[in-house]
């Protein structure tokens, strides 16, 4: 049996998830220029809010999802308001912000574990899913949704950033925060909004992973790392770069375990990262500064 079609499908699914994580990460990086490590836990939180809504409160799945995306967006906004903004005021360096975001990550992850236990939970009901046969490979309904959501989110975000006034303001802040402020843009509000949007998108990623596989407090870190690798190899701060990098990562991961033992999957991901850092640090889509 030819396993290439299945590998391609697996790569697309993985790439779509990483792309969603990279999307929000890039958005925030673009506006603030720091690596927000707490981004990963926003994804995990998204999954957990849905879990709470469906399992504990008994709400409808779709309502819980919409609510979760909104709630996590707010959490992202509040984190910016109370932690990152004060740090920006003090002209803290990127490293300080990075370490602070690491602190946020640890704290929220611990909270999730306390509230929901460290056990693994699936968001989806037990019944077997509808599967489709695609050129010899198999894909489930949820997985098709993942790919679609990822594509739609990327395109929507791109349109939003390039066509709306708000989007242009975000771009201005990314290019130069000082000048934007002088020109009259309320940079704090713009940045707060990017945290909201970025975190919401991350929540989507977490929810989709939860539906496809399941959630536990530790998925935040692994999703984050994949998203960061995707963002960097694609070109940090570049929306389409993140998507490109994500799919490249998905393909490399899945095709490499075909020939090399799956034991080394993690090592391969990070070797890819290091290779890019050495040979093309600006990523695929950025120009060398």
């Amino acid at each position: 049996m030819n396993i290439v079609p299945q590998l391609i499908i697996n790569s697309l699914i993985a790439g779509s998830i990483y792309s969603l994580v990279a999307l929000g990460f890039n958005l925030i990086y673009g506006a603030t220029r720091f690596f927000n490590l707490a981004h990963g836990i926003m994804a995990a939180s998204g999954g957990y809010v849905v879990f709470f809504g469906v399992k504990t409160l008994g709400w409808n799945l779709y309502i819980s999802i919409i609510l979760s995306v909104f709630v996590v967006g707010c959490i992202g906004y509040l984190l910016d308001r109370f932690i990152y903004k004060p740090l920006r005021r003090k002209k803290s360096s990127n490293m300080v912000m990075l370490v602070a975001s690491l602190g946020v990550f640890s704290t929220i992850q611990a909270l999730l574990a306390i509230l929901f236990s460290t056990q693994f939970h699936s968001l989806r009901a037990i019944s077997p899913e509808q599967t489709f046969n695609l050129f010899g490979g198999i894909i489930t309904q949820t997985q098709i949704i993942i790919i679609l959501v990822s594509l739609i989110s990327t395109i929507s975000l791109h349109l939003f950033l390039s066509r709306t006034r708000f989007g242009k303001a975000v771009k201005a802040v990314s290019d130069d925060e000082e000048v934007s402020r002088i020109v009259g843009i309320n940079t704090d509000r713009i940045i707060g909004a990017t945290f909201f949007i970025g975190s919401s998108i991350a929540a989507l990623a977490g929810i989709l992973v939860g539906l496809d596989t399941g959630i536990e407090p530790t998925i935040g870190m692994s999703l984050l790392l994949k998203g960061v690798v995707a963002a960097i190899i694609g070109g940090i701060g570049n929306i389409f770069g993140g998507t490109l990098g994500a799919f490249l990562l998905g393909f490399v991961e899945n095709f490499s375990v075909w020939k090399i033992s799956s034991d080394w999957k993690e090592a391969i991901t990070f070797t890819l990262l290091v290779s890019f850092l050495i040979f093309r640090p600006q990523g695929l889509m950025n120009k060398r500064k």
């Binding site: 396993i3 697996n10 460290t118 693994f120 077997p128 596989t213 399941g214 998925i219 991961e253 375990v257």
Partner: protein
């Protein structure tokens, strides 16, 4: 550096030292009166928390029964529970506290082989008896004179799995999917050697990180090798999505698992995907009374792997201490002579000259309709 900061820093140091000092001075060893204390180490949090908490429950039931019957020579039995987190360093710290602060003569634990391996050096040196209710890695056999276990070594399980697959099920081509933990890797190696020795063919050996939940890459590769059977050595958290993913990928091949599959959570959460899976587990003649009490304590009918062994271990220790007292060397000598029957984990428990459980009686169970039952 400013004066205030210096003062603050010294204050912090003093407070910490005093706190540690006072908290340490409260404890003392066995004085001959008052409750008899033994230690317990298990993964109360983390990946294997299910097993740890379940075992803690069974131990506490044993303790209640012992104390209700008058305790040990009219002294109550008390267990000091410490969290090993299925991690060597944490378990080592826990053991050190139990040995040096609580001064227990016996430690019941650890569960994960990584936990136990990390502190048997210390407990052997301190002459504290260690009775593990769950650790199966073969290296524990050589761990020392004071180290025992009432749970069989992996050598048994891997061999049994291979023989069952080849002889009973008649499968000649097996693909292995295994978790990269000491349990998974240990059994996998024994299975491969045994299966090949019988004349079988191993068409794939795919490992996955213990924290992985997406096994699609491995399953895709396995599917391509067209095996007769998949030997899937996984813990619950990865097995549930793993079984679902196998079903989604249409890997329509029988599955044989290890004793970690003796967890009802898998059958209920994996639903249809778990239908027909088989697993080998030590034949535990659980009696109804034990089951009822566990259900009351845990709030569900779940009895994980190892918790019957923890229960029996507690009872055995109580008997031994009742006979020879709390001197750890005497306890150790007496343990070698134990021949315990009527337990819930096994019909007869004896320890060989290495402190290992003698013999292991495995049975195969199959999952039908969300519940496991013995294969006829």
């Amino acid at each position: 550096m400013s004066k205030t900061v210096k003062i603050v820093v010294w204050l912090v140091v003093i407070i910490v030292v005093v706190a540690v000092g006072t908290s340490l001075s409260r404890k003392s060893g066995d004085t001959g009166t008052g409750p008899i204390k033994i230690g317990f180490i298990g993964p109360l949090t983390g990946d294997a928390a299910n097993v740890g908490q379940n075992s803690k429950a069974s131990v506490s039931i044993a303790v209640e029964e012992i104390n209700a019957a008058g305790g040990i020579n009219d002294r109550q039995l008390e267990v000091i529970y410490e969290d090993g987190q299925c991690n060597g360093k944490t378990a080592s710290n826990a053991a050190n506290k139990l040995i040096n602060v609580d001064k227990v003569p016996v430690i019941l634990g650890g569960a994960c082989s990584g936990e136990t391996s990390a502190f048997t050096g210390a407990s052997e040196q301190a002459k504290v008896v260690t009775l593990s209710y769950c650790s199966s890695v073969p290296t524990i056999t050589e761990a020392g004179d004071y180290i025992f276990r009432d749970y069989p070594s992996d050598l048994y399980q891997g061999k049994f799995g291979a023989e069952y697959a080849y002889n009973t099920l008649g499968k000649k081509k097996v693909a292995i999917l295994y978790v990269k933990s000491d349990w998974g890797v240990g059994i996998e190696k024994v299975f491969v050697d045994s299966f090949k020795a019988l004349g079988g063919e191993i068409v794939a050996e795919e490992g996955y990180e213990q924290t992985s939940r997406d096994l699609r890459s491995q399953l895709t590769k396995i599917k391509a090798t067209k095996p007769d059977l998949v030997y899937f050595l996984g813990y619950s958290d990865a097995s549930i999505p793993g079984l679902k993913q196998a079903a989604e990928l249409k890997l329509d091949v029988p599955m044989l698992g290890g004793d970690a599959w003796d967890d009802s959570k898998i059958f209920t959460e994996a639903g249809q995907a778990a239908e027909g899976i088989m697993f080998a587990v030590v034949n535990s003649p659980l009696n109804e009374e034990f089951k009822t009490k566990m259900e009351e304590k845990v709030g569900s009918d779940e009895i994980t792997v190892c918790s019957p062994n923890a229960y029996d271990a507690t009872k055995i220790l109580a008997e031994v201490i009742g006979k020879v007292g709390t001197d750890s060397t005497k306890i150790k000598d007496e343990l070698y002579k134990v021949s315990y029957t009527g337990g819930v984990s096994s019909d007869k428990i004896e320890f060989d000259s290495n402190g290992d459980l003698v013999g292991a009686n495995y049975v195969v169970k199959v999952v039908r309709g969300g519940k496991s039952e013995a294969v006829k």
